[in-house]
Amino acid sequence: MIAFIIRRLFASIGVLIAVGLIAFLLFRYVGDPVNQMVGIETPESERVALRQQLGLNDPAIVQALRFLGHAARLDFGISYQFKQPVSELIGARMPATLELAFVASILSLLAGIPMGVYTALHRKSALAKLFEALSLVGISLPTFLIGILLIYLFAVTLGWLPSFGRGDVVHIGSWWTTGLLTASGLKSIIMPAITLALFQMTLIMRLVRAEMLEVLRADYIRFARARGLSERKVHFRHALKNTLVPVITVVGLQLGSIVAFSIITETVFSWPGMGQLFLQSVQNVDIPIMAAYLLFIAFLFVVINLVVDLLYAAVDPRLRVAIHGA
């Protein structure tokens, strides 16, 4: 078990270093950092001095190591566009994005699992057909179209929900802000969260359905029925429980892509999160923010992957045996 964890840990660190090097290449060689920092009228001598001072004349390997060292201390330099430290910019916007991603994940689980179970148990019913049609639409419709549709319905036509922003936020601690404690904040998060959750919900529903159908055919389900257990018990105690392992994996892995996909949702709803910041940085070729965001997402993915692997081993006893045996 410990050997397994250590191996996964090393693989994770390897991925992070690889992504870090890509981020460094972006940072250093796409566009000239000096040109971005000084005005057009800065004399050549000052540029040379700045170049020396920033260490841009050092060997590439030294620069790469320095970059990684700074990155490990969350120092990603100064944004070209905002002239502020990148870590401050990202930190200020992180709560908005993480909150949205969290609410969207919960939403997709709460809706997706029951829908999946239902469509698996009542395959022929009209409601199940409706769910499946909805899931196809959910996969086919681009996220931003769903967002626009919701805005048109609930903000323009009905006027029930705000179409942009986060509403009023409350500060918790020194840097975290939350919109979940105010009425306007809660109202504001409904539509973005649904937009973001819809794709994941579809995914979870399809997965739970497929896994349930698979598991329901297994011998131990037949055996449970033969033992005279109630259908309810068979379905939920035996079948659903066994479908949850792949569901945990997918939900976990999707958490990272929810954060990444929030770029689109945040743009549609003018949600003041990291995604919007990243998009602005792409539009303005603000390389330090792009590099930092890339590393942040990579870090998120690696951590989630690691946790999911460990959870896997904890949930499925067969894997534990296999790991011990190996």
């Binding site: 196809l136 086919s140 996909f261 539009q283 070729v285």
Partner: protein, 318 residues
């Protein structure tokens, strides 16, 4: 006698066997047996034809500033009160006929989608063939890169590539580079799936007798890969390509919607939706509605076609 044995592994039998298998799998019959698939197929065909013949169908050229007049801006569709008979679906804020803009936008969206899929396919298939055939260190390097990239959502990769290519082409006219940038972004974000599938099939095929025979008569690895193995691994690739076409269209539309795709002067469907979104609150609903419906119908049709193709080519579902 020895001459005959040398004649054996020619490339034609390999490609004919693929077409032959296609016919034997009752592809046509299974296509016609599902109404949804026929409708999706017809719809896809209509979209492609409309895109190809857009300059002939469209009443005006929306890319030509000289043929659009600001005085015509924000006209409602023809069938609504106050609509102008000249504009079937109304006009946008620059006086462009929306019907023409959608036709041209469809053309741009499909063109970028197809080229993006082709580029992604070319990269993925090549790397997959090499990884599967060479094995060893080359294989593990390529697949490691694929694994890492797979953990990032395609849209994020596309955005990053977009930003980087923009930075590298700085100073260039956005209108001239946007098309290429989009194709590169989409191609580089969608190659992994091809590579994995092709590698898997190549691993199986490379130990078959016909490959051994081709190797025995001294054909170069490149020739074996392209003329012998490739035709036999194309089935799954076609399925991926169809499903990826829908994804590529969504990605292009999303990038354009986010404002890093095609500029408003040569709008794709995504750009039109981006423009239309600004008029959602002022009551000009048609600018956002019609491009959205077109995009949704297009993606849905291609997706349904891909779903059918996947099931039809999957021997396990027979």
């Amino acid at each position: 006698m020895s001459e005959i044995s040398v004649e054996l592994p020619k490339s034609e039998p390999a490609s004919r066997s693929f077409l032959g298998r296609l016919k034997d799998s009752d592809l046509l019959a299974s296509f016609l047996s599902s109404k949804v698939t026929v409708v999706a197929g017809a719809l896809t065909l209509i979209f492609f034809l409309a895109a190809v013949f857009a300059p002939l169908i469209a009443p005006t050229n929306p890319f030509d500033p000289a043929s659009n007049f600001l005085i015509d801006s924000l006209n409602p569709p023809r069938f609504v009160t106050g609509g102008d008979a000249r504009f079937l679906l109304g006009t946008d804020d620059q006086g462009r006929d929306l019907w023409s803009a959608i036709l041209y936008g469809l053309r741009v969206s499909l063109l970028i989608g197809v080229f993006g899929v082709l580029l992604g396919g070319a990269i993925g298939i090549t790397l997959g063939l090499i990884a599967g055939y060479a094995g060893g260190r080359i294989d593990s390097i390529i697949m490691r890169i694929a694994d890492v990239q797979l953990t990032f959502p395609a849209i994020l990769i596309a955005l990053l590539v977009d930003g980087v290519v923009q930075a590298l082409l700085k100073g260039q006219n956005r209108e001239q580079t946007a098309f290429g940038i989009l194709v590169i972004s989409i191609g580089l974000s969608f190659w992994v799936q091809y590579a994995r599938t092709v590698r898997g099939s190549t691993l199986v095929e490379k130990n078959r007798d016909y490959v051994q025979a081709a190797r025995l008569i001294g054909l170069s690895p490149a020739r074996i890969l392209m003329r012998h193995i490739l035709p036999n691994v194309m089935g799954p690739v076609l399925v991926i390509a169809t499903i990826n076409l829908a994804l590529a269209i969504i990605t292009e539309a999303t990038l354009s919607f986010l404002g890093v795709g095609l500029p408003p002067t040569q709008p794709s469907l995504g750009t039109l939706i981006r423009i239309g979104q600004n008029f959602l609150f002022s009551g000009e609903w048609w600018i956002v509605t019609f491009p959205s419906i077109t995009l949704a119908a297009l993606v849905l049709a291609v997706n349904l076609l891909g779903d059918w193709l996947r099931d039809a080519l999957n021997p396990r579902l027979k």
